[in-house]
């Protein structure tokens, strides 16, 4: 560790740290546009210039490495003037079309102007004309006039995807980012380009003109669309309810986590969010049930407990069957394992997930659900559904998830399920399966509940609810916590109504894999 001074405050940082990172550690934001922590410093935007004692010129914070006793000023008059100057240069040529720019509200140039600029424009000349709408990829539109030549996009395609579709063409004030002749940006990570663009030069058609950023709130979550467990931000519409909005979620963004996904997410995770708002079941569906008048989300567990108890106790293990999936959280799978596998000794436990997809060699895995590893670590033998074995001698079926319909024809499913006396489905989405069950209980998605997932590499990651579960939807863990109590299994554990937090800590006690460092 070495000691430096930033704005006269002593700061201890590791040797080899850059001024920009050292300042960030000290809670001082040095404005920057071209610098992105994923790439080596570029030094071209000149926004991060700072004053360092003993240096005649202003120096770049992004690339200058700190030295013992270095005295750095990030707020001196010279620094503030230089920052203003860079902003003035950029804004001279940048179109002032914020009212129709999707980046407005989320734009670094706009933010910095608010913070350091606020000058009257002295630019009385004509701005350069460049291309305004170049389609560079499936979702991506490039506006060269808005571009400030930070080259983050060019460097992303060079260093991350290594596909190099974009380059800088021409020179001087005519310089512009453009796509090489005949090229199209086609890879699994294109959406990151719009996200790392500090201004509105690359916009995303999935988001373009759909809403304004200031109507959105965001919450941290984990992407469930493969087993990588990329950290994401879910941006959703909040308030302004006088408009009938078609959906809640408007955008998924990457959230930095060096251990899991670095700074990026794949296009599947970014654009595949429609499942959150589309095709949801939000009411309990009762097809064939005795007590329909009184069944609500409050007494579901009571009802289920009663039915499970009614399976003749000698046949309990063989009379009950379970169909699970690996979108369930660690906690939910643990409760299921505790109640059914350990408690009731049920052997007919099958898993119905989406079929395997195509992974890549970077983030996207071939598994299409987020918690297969968690299910394995908890002790489940992940067997796919065998309809004959499922139906044979089964009195009571508890099925989770909508994925069964993708695995078998409706006819085969109906034939098998008709042999089972009672069957209940927990699903967030409605589909043709619904009619085959006595009742369908709507459940929350990962974006709507609390829990944890174990990614493909065995990293356990928590998530918190970002959105409200729609209608009567419940998180599965709530139903299962109640059900455990109802059935009187491990009463010490269940009587306290376990929550995801206490469940995970219980898991750590019994399964070493889930033991956390600070437990």
């Amino acid at each position: 560790m070495i000691k430096i001074f930033i704005d006269e405050e002593p700061v201890e940082v590791e040797e080899g740290t850059t001024v920009l990172k050292a300042a960030e550690r000290a809670g001082i934001h040095i404005p920057h546009l071209c610098y992105h922590p994923a790439f080596p410093p570029e030094g071209s935007c000149r926004m991060c210039l700072v004053e360092i004692e003993g240096f005649p010129k202003l120096e770049l914070a992004c690339s200058t490495v700190v030295k013992e006793d270095m005295k750095i000023s990030t707020k001196s008059e010279r620094v503030v003037e230089a920052r203003k100057a860079v902003l003035e240069f950029l804004l001279a040529e940048h179109p002032l079309d914020c009212p129709i720019c999707d980046k407005a509200g989320d734009c670094k140039l706009q933010d910095y102007y608010d913070e350091y600029g606020l000058f009257e424009s002295q630019f009385k000349e004509t701005k350069e004309k460049k291309e305004k709408k170049i389609k560079i990829g499936k979702h991506l539109i490039l506006d060269q006039e808005r571009c400030i030549l930070c080259t983050r996009c060019v460097r992303f395609l060079k260093e991350v995807t290594k596909t190099q579709e974009l380059g800088v063409f021409h020179r001087g004030v005519h310089s512009c980012v453009n796509i090489y002749d005949g090229a199209v940006i086609e890879n699994n990570y294109t959406g990151n380009l719009a996200e790392i663009c500090p201004v509105g030069a690359i916009t995303d058609e999935d988001f373009r003109f759909k809403t304004r950023t200031w109507f959105l709130k965001e919450g941290e979550s984990i992407c469930p669309l493969c087993s990588r467990g990329c950290n994401i931000l879910i941006q959703y519409h909040a308030g302004f309810s006088r408009f009938e909005l078609p959906k809640r979620v408007y955008r998924i963004k990457a959230r930095e986590n060096p251990e899991v996904n670095g700074f990026w997410i794949c296009d599947r995770g970014r654009y595949g969010y429609s499942y959150i708002d589309e095709g949801r079941t939000d009411q309990i569906i009762l097809n064939k049930i005795e007590r329909e008048n009184v069944l609500t989300r409050e007494n579901i567990s009571e009802y289920l407990g009663e039915k499970i108890k009614s399976v003749a106790s000698a046949e309990k293990a063989s009379g009950i069957a379970l169909i699970l999936h690996t979108w369930l959280s660690n906690e939910e799978l643990f409760l299921l394992h505790k109640i059914f596998r350990k408690g009731l000794k049920v052997e007919k436990i099958f898993f119905a997930d989406l079929p395997q997809g195509k992974g890549d060699e970077y983030l996207l895995t071939s598994e299409t659900s987020p918690n297969r590893r968690g299910a394995q670590e908890i002790g489940f033998d992940i067997k796919t559904v065998d309809l004959d074995a499922l139906a044979k001698g089964t009195d009571f079926l508890l099925a989770f998830g909508p994925f069964l319909s993708g695995l078998f024809s409706l006819k085969d499913l109906k034939a098998a399920l008709d042999k089972i006396k009672r069957k209940v489905l927990f699903s967030p989405h409605s589909n043709e399966l619904d009619s085959l069950f006595d009742m369908v209980i709507p459940v929350a998605l990962i974006a709507e509940k609390e829990g944890s997932l174990t990614n493909v590499e065995g990293i356990v990651q928590d998530f918190q609810p970002v959105l409200e579960p729609p209608g009567d939807s419940l998180p599965e863990w709530k139903v299962l916590s109640d059900l455990g109590k109802e059935l009187g299994i491990d009463s010490d554990f269940f009587k306290k109504f376990p929550t995801p937090e206490t469940i995970l800590s219980e898991m750590g006690k019994t399964i070493p894999f889930f033991k956390r460092k600070n437990d």
């Binding site: 410093p41 570029e42 030094g43 071209s44 935007c45 000149r46 926004m47 210039l49 010129k57 202003l58 770049l60 690339s63 003037e81 230089a82 100057a85 860079v86 003035e88 240069f89 950029l90 001279a92 040529e93 002295q122 630019f123 009385k124 000349e125 004509t126 350069e128 400030i148 030549l149 380059g167 800088v168 021409h170 020179r171 001087g172 004030v173 005519h174 310089s175």
Partner: protein
């Protein structure tokens, strides 16, 4: 007695041919260096000679070479023959009149630093000179001065000529490296400096043509002799390129420290008939301008710095009283606006902005606040850019607006 060093034999018929060059004592320095000297001795001699870079920055060549770290990686020499600074035309005289003198310098420098591949990055427009260099190189291979085991010393060297594609910025050493690697000629962020991370990420020495051409003379005649040709801290002669409104424009090899007044009025024959001296740009277009009464000055690195200008490439542009200073400013700002690589913000947009204002003034639409605005913008470019092009552009603009403000103001709308 001070004498001509580099241009001594210029004009001799077929000097560019190796036989003629050898008759004048050519390649004796190479033989001496490779057979009788150790690399360390050569380095000490060059350091003692106080040979400062002739490209513009004036960095001592020996010191630059000594920055090359010991390494297992290949090392490279790049000779900067991009000669793009407006007003400068000395290197092309050296290369076309006496290419072997340059090759000798390359051989000795490479031997000294431990380099086995050297490049001459030559300005694209110098097509005929590039061909002449190629011919000289093949002659040198034939005579065994290039290739494997040169003069039985165990030292190998290959030289390649690489033609640029016409960008001023590629004369900036790191942009030159990028261009040589086949990329867009954008300057690199420093550090690391090319001496440690240069061409293809390997340690690289980059020197100007004139700098390298002095090496054989230092080896042959010694550092002491070389220092005597110039000044103690600034050894050797300098090739001054005089252009503009003088009677005899051309190149003049003179000792460093020769007075600017003498160069213009004695060596270059004074002003053309009927012309009066108005201003001089003393070191290539990026050097701050001197007015007619500031020319009683010694032409060496330090004296010009004292006068708030610079020796740069020693290209002297003489401006007469009939030339409008606004026209001078227009040419300068157009050049830098055109040649900015566009990588960093202040240079990319600042130079274009200033040029747009100057053009507007020239159209008769200048406003009162325009000069102040130009000064402000140029000051915001100076010192804040990624490479020296920003300063190179700002310095002449700032000096012209300061020294000729009245004349510029007279061009504004009332």
């Amino acid at each position: 007695m001070k004498e001509k060093v580099l241009t001594e034999h210029f004009g001799l018929e077929n000097l560019h041919k190796i036989d003629v060059y050898q008759k004048q004592g050519g390649y004796r320095a190479t033989e001496k260096a490779l057979k009788k000297m150790k690399p360390q001795e050569i380095l000490e001699e060059v350091k003692k000679a106080n040979l400062r870079g002739r490209g513009g920055a004036g960095f001592p060549a020996g010191v630059k070479w000594s920055f090359v770290p010991p390494t297992d990686k290949p090392k490279y020499l790049c000779v900067n023959a991009d000669e793009g600074e407006p007003g400068t035309f000395k290197d092309r005289y050296i290369m076309s009149h006496n290419p072997h003198m340059l090759l000798e310098g390359i051989i000795i420098t490479s031997f000294c630093v431990g380099i086995s591949v050297a490049f001459i990055y030559i300005r694209g427009e110098y097509e005929a000179i590039a061909l002449r260099l190629e011919q000289a190189i093949s002659e040198a291979y034939e005579k065994g001065f290039l290739g494997k085991n040169i003069l039985d010393s165990g030292f190998d060297l290959d030289i390649y000529v690489h033609r640029g594609a016409g960008a001023y910025i590629c004369g900036e050493e790191t942009a030159l490296l990028e261009s040589l690697e086949g990329k867009r000629g954008n300057p690199r962020l420093k550090p690391p400096f090319p001496a440690s991370v240069g061409l293809f990420q390997c340690p690289t020495v980059i020197n100007n043509v004139e700098t390298i051409s002095n090496i054989s003379h230092i080896i042959l005649n010694g550092a002491e002799w070389f220092v005597k040709q110039g000044l103690p801290k600034d050894g050797g002669t300098r090739i001054f390129g005089v252009s503009g409104m003088v009677k005899n424009p051309g190149i003049y090899e003179l000792p460093l420290g020769t007075s600017l007044k003498d160069i213009i009025f004695k060596h270059a024959g004074g002003m053309k008939e009927g012309k009066k001296l108005k201003a001089v740009i003393p070191g290539g277009m990026s050097a701050p301008i001197l007015t007619a009464d500031e020319i009683d000055i010694k032409m060496d690195f330090d004296s010009l710095i004292e006068a708030n200008s610079m020796l740069g490439s020693a290209a002297i542009i003489v401006i007469d009283d009939k030339t409008s200073i606004l026209d001078v400013l227009k040419v300068i700002t157009k050049f830098y606006s055109h040649e900015s690589c566009g990588q960093c913000t202040p240079c990319r947009i600042g130079n274009s902005w200033i040029n747009k204002i100057v053009k507007r003034i020239a159209e008769g639409k200048g406003k009162k606040e325009d000069i102040d605005n130009i000064v402000r913008l140029a000051s915001n470019i100076e010192g804040n850019t990624l490479c020296p092009l920003g300063d190179a552009a700002a310095m002449p603009i700032l000096s012209i607006t300061k020294k000729f403000r009245k004349e510029l103001e007279s061009q504004l709308q009332p």
